[in-house]
Symmetry: C2
Subunit: 416 residues, 2 copies
């Protein structure tokens, strides 16, 4: 590791990013263990985070390194019969570690197009098996039992997907610039910048919670969607207190405020405003229709098989688990970059997610039985997949319990 | 990517090596899962093995990638209080997977000097914690419950340690040549070459089992060591049948025949003939004295703290678990290369190992109780560490139960 004072500007910024991840994203406690899941091309960031974590008193950093090429080799040379197999032992162990107090960092940065051109059915089965195997680990973070964060690392494959017109080095540099900017690492004091940004998100959350509306109404090109909200829903956004008492930022960057939709009360149609990359597969031009909360019709011009497989995962996979509002003025949206990465694209536009909700988006959920949860509109699923429905052309109204509509966003921006 | 015309012969040899690993080393069965533990610089081999494994019908390849730099960062920036922490959850999960039928490949190729210069006490504690945490996985392979293999991959760090006088690219090429040669991949038909080599090792095993001697006597510079053998010991070497019925080669390369020493009947002194690298730390010029089977005095000119910590791991760590004979004419010895890697160096010279024995080196051990095992001379320990004691200057005699000595090796070579 180079000495920090002598390090070049990139290394200094990388170190500052790593410290922001450890102190703002994870809010890692002394003596806490840390599991990092990361793609192999993100090793510079993995090592920088490892250093920042140990400097913060971490007791053990366990990187779990994923290789896109190994994945690709499977779909090209594996037996078709084998795609339903996944390493459950690993995620069970990870669930044990997280419940015992370890923190979890996910570094996102895979090539979003890596598996394009491979057999869609094989990928659908492979990702389903992996998704189901990973439930024991995913449940822990979704229930906020421990502090966790998802952040991004620029990698050659991802950079090339985002900036196909640039040379490799330039593309990588541009993507790093966008990541550093979104993570407020350009700022001399990123930790203070995050404090201010979290305060702004918390103020927006407070406003929406005071309003306590019954539904949101999205209107725009190809979209006329009424999303009923769960009874007793709670808006969230920015830093969040986990069940272990740690206040962390589960996503870096984050520009959204979000809450729990009512699983049975979503009506109308919606067109995705950005493509999304799920497990290295691009899903493009999603258009769906809801009836009684359920997606009854779904199309995509690309990755449709993967989308259909996702929707068929379980009964809750075709109902909503999250609705989130992001202004079109969000710095990530204003960068004008299409990232093909949910962590970024979902913070550039209002979005919905099919599948499981975040339990902390409902007041008093701890004391409810299954029947009470269903009555409030809580969805249940093993999947959680965000997709973007907001843009500068989309309006959002808040609908009160009385049925009265009040403008919340116009042309993608907050009214107040 | 290097120029295709130049790259092709290497890629072809790498693919042949990967196939040899899958079919000879692991003898992977269709539908079997495979866990690969490997250093990050070995990805070209990890990917080649992954492909060969899927082509052989493997159902899931799970690479577990280790990064030396992450390790180094820990010793430089971690809290001293934290070095006793290890990710037990991971090895417990791996033990579960191996018991459930997964095969295990270890790719060796770390920089043997990576941690030189770091705090020896910290490394001793860190490696001890890791060793103890890894017991659930290690036990499965040591008891031969599933098929497994240890193989090597040339990496820049290791190549530089072995060939410090060469440029980076030349060093890497030389090390690959040595690895390919030792794995018999130079041969047009490596699988046939391994069949012949396994037959030769099995013939030597048969000869020694017929002899059924009571002890081995090693004499050479700084060495006069009598190693009593366990009552009912069995010589092994080459391909071995695992408990799951698969006949595999647990080491590629392998040139040794080995058996179980008597834990209480080792007397005299011995000087290591090669340095050894344990968990990225070099231990040099080991010299020890045995009394009643136990090491009562141990020195090393380098890495002595790590050695002492190893010997103090548990009561069996200072007694022998393995003794192995390798002729000085072994192709690995004749390469004249000092590999600083046990997989290679132990196949260049006769050696002993402290710690746990291989249970299959004792006849009828399955039916014995603890008292019977102790009476036969079976050692018990959580560690297993080989070190080299043979050379062209070392003689070995077989001592019959009657006390009569018969020459086995002279100047490092088999008598017949």
């Amino acid at each position: 590791m180079p000495d920090r004072a002598k390090a070049d500007p990139f290394e200094r910024k990388l170190a500052r990013y790593a410290e922001t991840i450890v102190h703002v994203g994870l809010a890692l406690k002394p003596k806490q263990q840390l599991i990092i899941t990361a793609p192999i091309d993100s090793m510079p960031l993995v090592r920088a985070v490892t250093r920042a974590a140990y400097e913060a008193g971490c007791s053990y950093v366990m990187p779990v390194i994923d290789d896109d090429i190994v994945k690709q080799i499977r779909y090209r040379h594996g037996s078709k019969k084998s795609f339903d197999v996944a390493p459950a032992w690993f995620y069970e162990g990870m669930g044990v570690a997280l419940r015992a107090g370890a923190a979890h960092l996910t570094i996102s940065g895979s090539d979003p197009f890596m598996l394009n051109g491979e057999d869609e059915d094989a990928i659908a089965r492979g990702t389903k098996a992996l998704r189901e195997a990973s439930v024991p680990a995913m449940r822990v973070t979704q229930q906020l039992l421990t502090n966790w964060s998802v952040v991004a690392c620029a990698t050659p494959g991802w950079a090339k997907a985002v900036f196909p017109e640039l040379g490799d080095a330039d593309a990588l540099e541009r993507l790093w610039e966008a990541i550093f900017a979104a993570a407020r690492v350009d700022n001399d004091d990123p930790i203070a910048a995050w404090k201010a940004h979290n305060a702004a998100l918390h103020a927006r959350v407070k406003m929406l919670n005071r309003k306590n509306c019954a539904a949101l109404h999205f209107r725009g090109p190809g979209t006329d969607l009424r999303v009923g909200l769960a009874e007793g829903h709670r808006w969230c956004g920015g830093a969040e207190r986990m069940k272990n008492g740690v206040v962390c930022n589960p996503n870096l960057p984050t520009e959204e405020v979000f809450t729990m939709p009512h699983a049975m009360k979503v009506e109308g149609y919606v067109r995705a405003t950005r493509p999304l990359s799920y497990q290295n597969t691009l899903i493009e031009n999603i258009a769906v229709r809801f009836e009684g909360g359920r997606i009854v019709h779904a199309r995509a011009t690309r990755g449709e098989e993967v989308l259909h497989s996702l929707l068929a995962s379980d009964p809750g996979a075709s109902r909503l688990g999250e609705v989130a509002l992001v202004p079109h003025a969000s710095p990530i949206s204003q960068s004008g970059i299409l990232f093909f990465n949910t962590l970024f694209d979902e913070n550039a536009a209002s979005h919905i997610a099919i599948g499981s909700p975040y339990p902390h988006c409902l007041r008093g959920i701890e004391k409810m039985n299954a029947g009470e949860m269903i009555a409030c509109g809580v969805n249940d699923s093993r999947i959680h997949l965000d997709w973007m429905i907001g843009s500068g052309e989309v309006d959002v109204d808040a609908i009160a319990a009385s049925g009265v509509a009040e403008p919340l966003m116009r042309a993608g921006e907050w009214i107040n």
